[in-house]
């Protein structure tokens, strides 16, 4: 397959700034459940976002494309949800929340500018077919897709994804132990899946293991938040892993240290996590280097 490369070879990252309305929309749910505090520290969130983008650009060496924040779209910073990119194809998703679907416009524009083949999900399904898909429920391993069936992603959405990326097996798995698939697992290397130690996550992992034709190394981390990391193999052939800092996940750091020859980049996202976000939520990773 032309588009198959080991996971992690990215050249570009697309991010979107933290709007002033950060956390406003979901105050009801998250504040109550997560913190009990209704106030979000916008400044801190923006600081953390700045650290993340800085790491991606300066440490990892990616070309960073930042879409300006839009106050009208309080969740637009979760750019991961609105597109699934593999190779030179970008699937613009259809988020579960109606109000988020307008977030795709800017992203679509950027994708086109990057000469990616843009596939519209809403168009295929007529918008009313009920297909919903969010990127945070999609785990691409470099070899195949796992789509977590969650409250935000349904089978129809997964089918569209499967139809878009025909080269790859697309397996659906139940999301257990978290709201989103990416909340419980992420890629930690070309063949490495980082997954949380929760029972739900284990259940999901078992399903993934059953469905896959490949073998993955599994890095289990004791804390759920630590299961979401950003792995990039930079231009300099160095493995970078952006992971929650020890302040947030003190027990998981030893696990990350098992990754030999990795450059570990502790990156805080405590504010985003209050809203169910995580490190991967902030960025779309793209490889625009022709590989054939």
């Amino acid at each position: 397959m032309a588009s198959v490369l080991p996971y992690g070879r990215f050249t570009h990252a697309v991010v979107r700034g933290i709007p002033e309305t950060f956390g406003k929309v979901e105050d009801e749910k998250n504040n109550k459940v997560e913190n009990g505090e209704t106030t979000m520290d916008l400044a801190k969130a923006q600081r953390q976002f700045g650290v993340l983008t800085g790491a991606l650009r300066q440490k990892v060496g990616l070309q960073l494309i930042e879409i300006p924040a839009d106050p009208e779209l309080p969740e637009s910073w979760r750019i991961e949800d609105v597109a699934v990119i593999q190779g030179d194809t970008a699937l613009i998703t259809r988020p579960f929340k109606q109000q988020r679907r307008s977030e795709t416009e800017a992203v679509r524009r950027v994708m086109s500018e990057l000469n990616l083949t843009v596939v519209e999900m809403g168009a295929e399904e007529g918008g009313s077919a009920g297909a919903t898909l969010e990127g945070s429920d999609v785990l691409f391993t470099g070899r195949e897709f796992f789509v977590g069936i969650s409250s935000h992603t349904n089978y129809r959405g997964a089918e569209v994804l499967a139809d878009t990326f025909r080269d790859f097996a697309v397996s659906t798995v139940p999301v257990c132990g978290g709201a989103r698939l990416k909340n419980i697992c992420s890629m930690g290397g070309p063949d490495t899946i980082i997954i949380s130690n929760s029972d739900g996550a284990k259940k999901t992992l078992r399903m993934m293991e059953q469905l896959t034709d490949h073998h993955y190394e599994v890095l289990t981390v004791p804390e759920g938040a630590a299961a979401n990391c950003v792995y990039v193999r930079g231009p300099s052939k160095v493995d970078y892993l952006l992971h929650p800092p020890t302040e947030e996940c003190p027990e998981s750091f030893p696990a990350f240290q098992k990754l030999t020859d990795y450059t570990l980049l502790p990156t805080a996202c405590s504010e985003a996590s209050k809203l169910g976000g995580s490190l991967t939520s902030f960025c779309l990773l793209i490889n625009r280097k022709t590989y054939y």
Binding site: M1, A2, S3, V4, G87, D88, T89, T117, R143, E144, V147, Y155, A158, E159, A162, D163, F165, R166, D167, F168, A169, V170, S171, T172, R206, Q210, L211, T212, D213, Y292
Partner: protein
């Protein structure tokens, strides 16, 4: 020879022999020492008489079989035979030998290579010098008449030889394949002079030896040849009906191929592979459409039984997609795989992204057009190619863009790159089937190398890797998989799927069985009876596994064959793209490219095919001659011969067919068996089978042989003994027969066993088929599996003894094939078991390699297993079969049954297990014989191993009689006593029955006075067991006056539940027998109902 020929009933053979005799000397000399020896022996014995006899026989044959000759097949055969006779002429005996040899050794290789198109001669040359020569001689001599047949036979490889052999065998009454050739000489001698008998025996021995060698070499081939032979014989008697097949090749070209109507799938497949010059053929298969459903042509079954459509339209396709194409040995294989994948892509079966379509298309362009030429190549040239189900201008531009980047890449490199990318596609090699889950939701079942994938729309919703699957089964339209319990689970769970209909359910099941076996196992699983305790089809994958084919591929040693690449344009578009030279369809060229190269490849590849072929050979055997076909089908469980009908299906577990003419069949069967296990064959080849044959001959001559024979088991009928003084000893036990024919017989028997074992079901059927001729082919056996389970419940043994007396040429065909169909009803498959089996199989391989060792083992085993001996001695094809069977079900009884069937042969065969031990003791003295037997056995062993490796291991192959006595007691007894009780586990089946062929070459041919007394040319007993049915066929050939009479006694033991309609089963068995031996008439039917009824009156 002449007498033999005449007796054999096969006019064809006789003429051939006559013709061949002259030519043969040359051939023999050219070919191999063995042949020469044979020839010499023949000459020594009585050249002149033989010649005279030949002429007489030929005349007789002509007279007797004029009708046959008139009929297409027969007519054809006779011409073929003459050449053989000519060759043999130098050595009268040679003709049979040559024939046999050709059939055995030459056929196999040739089959794949030469047989299809050209006359046997060419083929033979390819395969084996001797064979080729023989074939050529035959062809030349009788080109006009026999060519078609010859060709077919040759194609089969062994088929022709078998036929010839059969003829010989008839005369000699030797059952076994190797023996058959020998037997022929012996017969001739008998006819000419009794004194000559000795020489004949010697010749036979030599022949047997040669045959053994040939067998080894041709093991792979033999199966095919066997089939053909079987078929041909039938045809001979009847008319060979040729059917035009149209095979659509991967490049879109049509490959017209004329095959016998009774040809098995493997025959056609080999022809196609030969045309393609393809050696790594195990990844491929022929598909056809029945009711809009794509099915894979079962190589072990007759084509006509599979394709419902009157016009035989097939397609050559990749059946098993190698997960790593880079491990393929030859570029041509990769090229064909590329063609298949292009089809898959264009048809949408293999979905790709835009980028992948473009990339793969660019590699296709590079492979076909070479480097991008900016000057001449415009974008429109590319629009002639189809890269995707729906391709856009944008895609074409992308293709061209990518094409430019491939500059300097050779076609082979481009193909490799194509495959490297295509193999990563998620749907690569996934065979999708529509189904519904337990909740009625539409899903797709995807069968692939790794396991079973469950798709809903495009989403993979579940996956069951082979290691996770404990059992695969189907019932009606439901398909079930039993899942191994997970870590946290205590109980295994069963997942059911609803298929559109019963046929589709079975199809999925078969595909799963095949894929699991091919990709997951080291060696094919023997469809052993043990597993059959559960109901279900016995179907098992009989070809080589990926591991085996890879191993075989490593042996490919030929310069990379040249082949032309066909432009992909043809697929969908006109040749507008003219610029591309490739555009020209190279289809033809490709096939033609290398003929020689094929041989080696063929052997390798053929192995699998050979196995498949074996059944056919068996079948062929039956038809062989018509003189008198006595079919004894002892109870399968008890003994071979009997057909057990269990429940709905009639299962032929083991069919021991005693056909004088059948001798050939037996031989064929043996050959087939041998061929069945390629590895074994290869090993066998290493081992000098011919030697054994020689030994056998010697043994036959020597008293020792008789002892051995005795030891082996049953003493052949007195008649047989008479012909051979040495054999007389045999009378005590089968050994006598064996002695005469022993080598051959043993070989044959061994082959038969192998067949059975190799393809558990198939094998079983095959034996029957051989006895009966084509139909019986193992196919039936699959059914047995399910039935087997039932059997335990209620076993009613029905013995049908059919004595068909035919004057001369009438081939007796008993079709047991029908049984196979029963399989369809339900099938179970235990992957795990298979795994174990695989291990076993592995073991088997070693065994094969070390046949001698095996033999040694076998001896001990034999002690434990008396049955084997009986088989051998018994006329006894049955007995051997019985032995095998007995372990399975009711060995003893079966043996007994056999006895009644053949009066002449005697029931002596009865040799119970006890005899076998004796045989061992006896065997010891003649280590040599043991070796011979081993060699002979090897094939069997191999086959057995394949089927039930484990079982075989335990089983001991008793080889009695050193060189002198040909008696070959190769009994593979199942170690599993438990299995023996009712249904021998699959492994058990492995036990090889010993075929006892009593060949008496009496002057009867000439002496018209002796009605029965005539000269007993050959007596063969073939026992085949299926789970449900055991078929023992006794073939006795006698020469009375100028007429050869072949009596076939078939014993069919049908074991089944009360539910089974025994009457119906019996009727079917008789019907099949008639079908198989159209030329023969059924003179007597004896029905024994055990359990329920002691016996039913005879006719």
């Amino acid at each position: 020879m002449t007498t033999e020929v005449g007796s054999e009933t096969e006019v064809k053979k006789e003429p051939e022999k006559a013709e061949e005799q002259p030519a043969e000397p040359e051939r023999s000399a050219i070919n191999q020492t063995d042949e020469v020896k044979v020839v010499e022996a023949a000459e020594q014995s009585n050249e002149s008489p033989a010649l005279a006899t030949d002429s007489a026989e030929a005349k007789e044959n002509q007279e007797a079989q004029p009708a046959d000759n008139a009929t297409g097949p027969e007519g054809e055969e006779p011409p073929a035979s003459p050449p053989a006779s000519e060759k043999k002429g130098i050595s009268r005996f040679l003709p049979p030998w040559l024939k046999r040899q050709k059939s055995q050794s030459v056929v196999g290789p040739k089959e794949s290579q030469v047989t299809p198109k050209e006359e046997g001669g060419v083929v033979l040359v390819n395969g084996e010098g001797e064979k080729a020569e023989q074939a050529k001689a035959e062809q030349t001599s009788s080109t006009t008449t026999a060519e078609p047949q010859v060709e077919e036979e040759q194609v089969n490889g062994e088929a022709e030889p078998e036929q010839k052999e059969e003829v010989n065998s008839e005369e000699h009454a030797e059952n076994h394949s190797t023996g058959s050739a020998e037997t022929q000489p012996a017969k001739e001698e008998k006819a000419s002079e009794k004194s000559q008998e000795k020489s004949a025996a010697e010749e036979e021995k030599k022949e047997t030896e040669e045959g053994g060698e040939k067998k080894d070499q041709e093991e792979s081939l033999k199966p095919e040849g066997g089939r053909y032979f079987i078929k041909s014989p039938l045809k001979l008697t009847k008319k060979v009906k040729m059917v035009m097949c149209h095979v659509i090749m991967l490049d879109g070209s049509q490959f017209p191929c004329e095959v016998e109507k009774r040809a098995k799938g493997q025959y056609l497949f080999f022809k196609v592979c030969e045309a393609l010059n393809l050696l790594e053929k195990d990844y491929f298969g022929l598909s056809y459409k029945n009711a809009d459903q794509m099915c894979w042509l079962d190589p072990t079954k007759e084509i006509k039984r599979q394709i419902c459509n009157p016009s035989w339209q097939l397609a050559f396709n990749v059946k098993f997609y190698p997960p790593d194409p880079s491990q393929l040995t030859e570029d041509i294989t990769r090229y064909l795989l590329c063609l298949q994948l292009r089809q898959d892509i264009v048809s949408g079966r293999l979905p790709c992204s835009f980028v992948t379509h473009s990339l793969l298309g660019s590699y296709s362009l590079q492979a076909e057009l070479g480097d991008h030429d900016p000057d001449e190549q415009r974008l429109d040239y590319i629009s002639d190619f189809q890269f995707a189900p729906s391709q856009t201008k944008e895609m074409e531009e992308k293709v061209v863009e990518l094409h430019k980047t491939h500059r300097g890449m050779t076609p082979a490199q481009a193909d490799t790159q194509f495959l490297e990318n295509a193999k990563k596609l998620s749907m690569y090699g996934v065979d999708l089937h529509h189904a519904k889950d337990s909740e009625g939701v539409d899903i797709m079942l995807g069968v692939c190398a790794n396991g079973l994938l469950i798709y809903k729309d495009r989403l993979r919703i579940n996956r069951f890797a082979w290691p996770k699957i404990l059992k695969i089964s189907y019932k009606r339209s439901n398909f079930y998989i039993k899942i191994r319990p997970g870590e946290t689970e205590q109980f295994e769970s069963t997942v059911g799927f609803k298929l559109p209909n019963h046929r589709s359910a079975k199809r999925v099941w078969k595909v799963c069985v095949e894929n699991h076996t091919f990709f997951r196992l080291m060696t094919q699983e023997a469809p052993t009876k043990a597993k059959f305790l559960t109901l279900g089809s016995k179907f098992r994958y009989s070809g080589r596994t990926q591991a085996q084919t890879r191993q075989a591929s490593t042996l490919i040693d030929r310069p990379a064959p040249y082949f032309e690449r066909t432009s992909s344009k043809r697929i969908s578009r006109s040749l507008d793209g003219a610029p591309v030279i490739n555009m020209i369809e190279a289809q033809d060229s490709a096939p033609t490219s290398v003929g020689n190269g094929r041989e080696p490849g063929l052997e390798l590849s053929s192995d699998s095919s050979k196995v498949e072929e074996e059944p056919s050979e068996r079948a062929a055997a039956t038809p062989t001659e018509g003189t008198e076909m006595k079919r004894d089908e002892p109870d399968s469980s008890q003994q071979s011969g009997k057909l057990r009908v269990q429940g709905e299906n009639i299962y032929v577990r083991h069919s021991n067919l005693m056909l004088e003419d059948l001798d050939k069949t037996q031989e064929d069967v043996l050959k087939h068996q041998a061929s069945t296990s390629e590895l074994k064959r290869s090993f066998m080849e290493a081992t000098p089978e011919p030697r054994p044959s020689q030994w056998e001959k010697r043994l036959t001559a020597s008293p020792a042989t008789s002892l051995r024979q005795q030891a082996q088991g049953r003493s052949p009928p007195p008649t047989t003994q008479e012909p051979l003084s040495d054999l007389t000893v045999d009378t005590v036990s089968k050994s006598s027969d064996d002695k005469q024919k022993s080598d051959e017989t043993t070989l044959q028997a061994a082959e038969v066993e192998i067949e059975e074992t190799v393809v558990v079901e198939k094998i079983r059927v095959a034996p029957k088929g051989s006895v009966t001729i084509t139909t019986p082919e193992v196919v039936v056996t699959p059914v047995a599996v399910e039935t087997e389970v039932e059997k335990p419940e209620e076993e009613v043994i029905e013995e049908v003894i059919e004595e068909v007396k035919e004057e001369q040429k009438r081939p007796v065909s008993v079709s047991s094939d029908s049984h196979s169909e029963s399989e369809e009803e339900a099938g179970e498959y235990h992957p795990q078991v298979t795994v174990s089996t695989s291990v076993e199989q592995i073991k088997e391989e070693p065994e094969e390699e070390e046949k001698e060792e095996v033999d040694n083992h076998e001896e001990p085993e034999q002690v434990s297993e008396p049955e084997p001996l009986p088989e051998v001695e018994v006329e006894t094809m049955p007995s051997p079969a019985v032995v095998e069977e007995t372990p399975m079900a009711e060995p003893e009884t079966a043996l007994v049954v056999d006895a009644p069937a053949e009066e002449e042969r005697t029931e002596d065969i009865l040799v119970t297990p006890e005899e076998a031990p004796n045989g061992h003791a006896e065997d010891q003295p003649g280590l040599v014989a043991v070796e011979e037997e081993e060699e002979e056995e090897e094939p069997r062993v191999n086959g057995d191993a394949s089927h039930a490796e484990t079982e075989r291991i335990p089983q001991v192959i008793c080889c009695s009689e050193p060189p002198v006595v040909k008696t070959e007691m190769v009994t593979i007894s199942d170690t599993f006593a438990a299995q023996k009780t009712e249904i021998a586990t699959k492994e058990v089946p492995i036990v090889h029955t010993e075929t006892k062929t009593i060949t008496y070459e009496a002057a009867q041919l000439d002496g018209s006075g002796d009605g029965e007394p005539g000269i007993l040319m050959t007596a063969q007993t073939i026992t085949s067991e299926s789970l449900c049915t055991t078929t023992t066929t006794h073939i006795t050939k006698t020469l009375k006056g100028g007429l050869s009479e072949t009596r076939i006694e078939k014993r069919i033991v049908i074991t089944g539940d009360s539910d089974i309609d025994h009457d119906q089963a019996l009727a079917q068995a008789i019907k099949e027998a008639k079908e198989q031996h159209p030329d023969m008439s059924v003179t007597r039917v004896v029905v024994h109902k055990e359990t329920e009824l002691a016996e039913e009156g005879e006719d």
